[in-house]
């Protein structure tokens, strides 16, 4: 028996329709999307376009502003490096993943930007105040995760976006954990650029990501190269999405992301989240208050169904290794989130519990029993 509770890294297993879509794309869409005019290339092009349409509908965006990337990290680097202005000030949150903080630190260290980190609190009002206080007249960009990959805390993105809109600041949101599990809409949430992975809550395969823009801010490409369009011009085309999609796209991966979104649309993200929340509640009800056990999850802020924990006398990697031996796959350590772990004050990292819609309640109970056996 192997049970995956590491769905915040990569969801597994995938819905059956994702597997089918991958096999179909492998068998029938083997050409280069948006390149040749022949029938094999055309099949790949149409597959990518249909996925683009689905993603645009999923996040309330225009088809042409929906860009396929190789990961959320790729999307975030494109969004961050493609929009920040030389000499400008950038604000980010204290719960960011390294895919946000590392590009920002690199930009700051090269003297291109100045950077402030807005502390995130259990209390949304305090968090919003923290962002308001960090913003200066030189602030041109705010980059903020929608939900933490360590504690699951959902940030007050709509309130932050209101501030950004009033001050004409570009808001880039990292939706890696949130997308697919809670509704995310560029229009309703006031997000200018949304970046997400395809292989987590969207149920696609690894090697997929999305950048979705509302079109307000121009994004300079991270890479230049072949786009299959305006090919006699040696300058990179300025049209979206071609401008940001140099190189042959991963048709199979993109087909998998579409199938994942179709699965979510069929089940509804509301139902998925409710079920996963139930699993998180089962975990919490069995583990909260256990001696020698600490849970990292804010009490007064909304959260996604994921959380971190520690057995106080066992290093996180040791605990995860023990659980692995019992058939439970959980990720330990610092979850590529140095800033978030520093904010939480975890010295040796944590173990993360991240269920998916394919987990069963009885497996959560067995996991809790296994943890209690070593406390």
């Amino acid at each position: 028996m192997t049970v995956n509770f590491d769905n915040a890294a990569t969801s597994f297993p995938k819905p059956p329709e994702v597997r089918k879509a991958v096999i179909y794309a492998m068998d029938n869409c083997g050409g280069s999307a948006g390149r040749g005019g022949h029938i094999i290339s055309a099949a790949a092009s149409e597959t990518v376009y249909r996925a683009r349409e689905t993603a645009a509908g999923f996040f309330d965006a225009k088809t042409e502003n929906t860009v396929f990337c190789s990961s959320c990290t790729h999307a975030l680097n494109t969004a961050i490096k493609g929009t920040v202005k030389y000499g400008s000030h950038v604000v980010t949150s204290s719960l960011e993943h390294n895919s946000v903080i590392r590009p920002l630190i690199a930009l700051r260290n090269s003297g291109k930007i100045s950077l402030s980190i807005a502390k995130v609190y259990d209390d949304d009002e305090k968090t919003v105040r923290s962002f308001r206080e960090a913003i200066t007249p030189k602030t041109k960009t705010v980059i903020c995760t929608i939900a933490s990959n360590v504690t699951g805390q959902i940030l007050p993105i709509r309130k932050i976006s209101e501030i950004c809109r009033r001050k004409n600041i570009c808001l880039i949101a990292d939706g890696a954990q949130a997308c697919g599990i809670m509704p995310v809409s560029l229009k309703n949430d006031g997000i200018n650029i949304l970046c997400t992975s395809g292989h987590k809550g969207l149920y696609g395969i690894a090697g997929t990501g999305l950048l979705i823009s509302d079109g307000k801010y121009r994004i300079s490409p991270l890479m230049q190269g072949g786009t299959g369009s305006i090919s006699l011009n040696m300058k990179q085309p300025d049209i979206m999405p071609d401008c940001l999609e140099s190189g042959t796209l991963c048709t199979v991966g993109i087909a998998s992301v579409k199938a994942g979104m179709d699965f979510i649309n069929r089940i509804s993200s509301e139902k998925i989240r409710r079920y996963e929340e139930h699993l998180a509640d089962v975990f919490l009800s069995l583990m909260e208050g256990a001696e020698g056990f600490k849970i990292y999850r804010p009490k007064n802020a909304p959260c996604l169904p994921l959380l971190s924990f520690n057995a106080l006398n066992i290093p996180s990697e040791e605990l995860a290794s023990y659980l692995n031996g019992k058939g439970f796959c959980l990720r330990a350590g610092f979850h590529c989130s140095a800033l978030a772990h520093r904010t939480l004050g975890t010295k040796t990292g944590t173990v993360r519990f991240a269920p998916s819609v394919f987990n069963r309640e009885e497996d959560v109970k067995k996991l809790c029993s296994a943890i209690k056996n070593v406390l």
Partner: protein, 74 residues
């Protein structure tokens, strides 16, 4: 019948135009052309309601140019 062909700078714009026209009951087929000044471009071959097709695309803010091509029909 005389062919009515629109050119687009990207496959996405051509497909978007194709989808919008389809939703409005106008059939079209996508092709590819090698434009001597721009390079690779995409075309939409429209067999019917040319004026209405153009009106619909204009209304939806889709940019195109008119021109001939030898594209592959699907």
């Amino acid at each position: 019948m005389q062919k009515f062909i629109l050119s687009f700078r990207s496959y996405t714009s051509a497909m978007k135009a194709h989808s919008i026209l389809e939703q409005n009951g106008i059939n079209s087929s996508i092709g590819k052309k090698a434009d001597t000044s721009e390079g690779c471009m995409y075309t939409l071959n429209i067999d019917q309601d040319h004026d209405r097709a153009v009106q619909i695309l204009n209304k939806n803010g889709i940019s195109y140019t008119q021109g001939n091509c030898r594209g592959v029909r699907r």
